[in-house]
């Protein structure tokens, strides 16, 4: 797309109109994305409480985060733990669910609806509902476990089980959601003739999966992995509603740390430094995934 600025008057007019049409996005991008990123970068080097003026303190906030803040590293570690499990297990199970629903089953649309419903449930309702299901004494989950002779844990109220509980809730709500539908779209994009000819050549179901399905949907897997990592690293609402970071900081994820620093302690400068650290982590993780993807993602038209 090489276009000179000095095109014909008609081309200039078309360009001008084009800019006008996309101008809402351009303004929105500058005001709500690029501007805030630059502002948070600046604020991250300042001490700033609401109402006062930002005081330049150089790298102080970053030193505070890395060396003195006792909640920083644990919150990051917890987030990473949560993220690794939900992304790998979640993407894998979503793919399995999509493959199941891609079969020629009767009542497929009913199953599809059943799987999709949890992801439509508002996060607060979801958290409340699960807090009740996982209630240690009268919750349904422990009752069912009791039926098969297992003494269920305290779930959200136990330090050890709190994160696994959050993982469970988040998997329930996300396996059959948008990610599964994107996989479904990918699976339906695989030409049926390829399976047919492979079968004629004597390939069994497992071979067909590894040699046809997997390579052809690998771009979709990458897409879901990248968005999955971003989504899981941003875990906030679920933990905020279900446990509020507890018990005893067991579910104090990175975003809760940022939220409390910004909106409870009003440490806007420090919170900005945390936001920037988060931004860099997400950037590196996405970059690494894209770089490493050269080795396993197959592009039809590459």
């Amino acid at each position: 797309m090489k276009k000179s600025w000095f095109g014909t008057p008609l081309q200039r007019r078309e360009a001008l109109e084009g800019y006008l049409w996309i101008s809402p996005w351009v303004i929105g991008f500058l005001v709500f994305s690029l501007g805030p990123i630059i502002a948070s970068f600046y604020l991250s080097f300042t001490q700033y409480k609401i109402g006062g003026t930002p005081i330049w303190i150089g790298l102080e906030n970053y030193q505070e985060a890395f060396f003195r803040d006792k909640l920083f590293w644990p919150s990051l570690g917890r987030t990473a733990y949560y993220s690794v499990v939900t992304v790998f297990v979640g993407v894998f199970l979503s793919l399995l669910a999509a493959m199941l629903l891609n079969q020629n089953l009767r009542g497929r649309s009913v199953f599809r609806a059943m799987y999709y419903l949890p992801s439509l449930t508002p996060v607060v309702a979801m958290a409340i509902l699960w807090a009740w299901l996982l209630q240690p004494q009268v919750g349904l989950v422990n009752y069912l476990l009791y039926q098969v002779g297992i003494d269920g844990p305290g779930w959200l109220t136990s330090r050890q089980w709190a994160i696994p509980s959050i993982i469970l809730i988040s998997l329930w709500s996300s396996i059959g959601g948008g990610r599964m539908i994107i996989f479904l779209a990918g699976l339906q994009g695989v030409p049926k003739e390829m399976y047919e000819s492979a079968e004629i050549d004597g390939a069994n179901a497992v071979q067909r999966f590894f040699h046809i399905t997997l390579p052809l949907i690998s771009p979709v897997i990458l897409f879901n992995l990248i968005l999955g990592v971003i989504g899981s690293f941003s875990v906030f609402s679920l933990a905020y509603v279900a446990t509020d970071g507890g018990p005893n900081y067991a579910t104090w994820f990175f975003m809760l740390h940022l939220y409390y620093n910004a909106f409870s302690y009003f440490q806007m400068g420090y919170a900005s430094a945390l936001a920037w650290i988060f931004f860099v982590i997400i950037f590196i993780l996405s970059y690494l995934q894209i770089k490493l993807s050269d080795r396993w993602v197959y592009y039809e038209f590459a």
Partner: protein, 304 residues
């Protein structure tokens, strides 16, 4: 799924299945049976929490703390649903949510459509780069920008108003929606608007009278996603609203949980009823418009 889409693969799958069946009927049947068993068991696992919530929402307080729990209330108590409205200003929360969701949706649809139209119909320097920037903003978690955004709204005096929840929707409407609509607009033949242009129609007219009416299906998809997104939104209201009469359902519900009201009686049943009321509109919308959900993504070819 549209019927045409379903027919082709079903035919192909059938021919493969019948050949496979001809070769080995017994394992073929066992396979199918296993698939159904897995689908049903997992389907139940996904819906059981809803069943349990409905059941709990209808129980009297004496029954809700029974162990072992009763799967279905012995005595149904509909009053729990009435109490939702008497114990908290719930009707107010619903109205607030409707206003915010409606206006934000409107802004999102209009501005995403306008921007998508700009990207799909006009040639201008830097277009592809800018579109790439649109797509990369999908990777930016908005929590990263929350501190300066909050400061901006505070500076504008918008805290504890609905403006922070509505106004940003009018500026582009989100990368995903722009992408979805642009993909759709590209499938509309350009001959149509070329002809209108020769007749002297302005680009606004072409957009409003040709492109939008032809894109009803795509716009409906965006509307549905947008509705659910705003109805369920939590962080925005949590940060920008602080007085009870401004609360939307998502934080009104939380308020309902964490603030014990005058009575010390457990209110779990009422809470379950309230959560169901909050969850109901998105679920109902899903059932009414199910085909758009899958189709919207399938037809735009969102597969990398």
């Amino acid at each position: 799924m549209t019927t045409t889409e379903q027919r082709a693969p079903a035919y192909a799958a059938e021919s493969v299945a019948s050949r496979r069946a001809g070769r080995n009927t017994w394992t073929g049947r066992l396979m199918t049976l296993t698939l159904y068993a897995i689908a049903i068991v997992t389907g139940i696992a996904f819906s059981l929490p809803f069943f349990w919530t409905i059941s709990s929402s209808l129980k009297p307080i004496t029954e809700i703390y029974l162990f072992p729990p009763t799967l279905w209330p012995q005595e149904i108590r509909w009053e729990n649903y009435r109490d939702v409205f008497t114990i908290a200003p719930f009707a107010r929360f619903i109205w607030n949510t409707v206003v915010v969701t409606g206006l934000a949706m409107l802004g999102q649809i209009l501005s995403a459509a306008a921007v998508a139209y700009g990207f799909s119909r006009f040639r201008f320097p830097g277009r592809d780069t800018l579109f790439f920037v649109v797509l990369s903003t999908m990777m930016l978690p908005w929590q990263v920008t929350i501190v300066p955004t909050f400061l901006l709204f505070r500076y504008l005096g918008w805290i504890n108003t609905f403006l922070p929840l509505i106004v940003p929707s009018f500026f582009g409407g989100g990368a995903f929606y722009i992408f979805l609509l642009r993909q759709f607009f590209m499938t509309i033949p350009r001959d149509l608007d070329e002809a209108a242009k020769l007749d002297g129609a302005s680009s606004v007219r072409i957009f409003w009278n040709i492109v939008l009416p032809l894109s009803k299906a795509a716009l409906a998809t965006v509307a549905i996603f947008s509705f659910i997104q705003h109805w369920n939104e939590f962080i925005g209201p949590l940060i920008f609203l602080n007085s009870t009469e401004k609360f939307t359902l998502s934080i009104g519900l939380r308020y309902f949980v964490s603030n014990p009201f005058e009575s010390d009686e457990p209110r779990e049943a009422i809470l379950m009823a309230a959560s169901l009321i909050v969850a109901l509109p998105p679920l109902a919308l899903f059932f009414m418009a199910q085909k758009y959900f899958v189709q919207g993504i399938v037809t735009t070819g969102l597969k990398g």
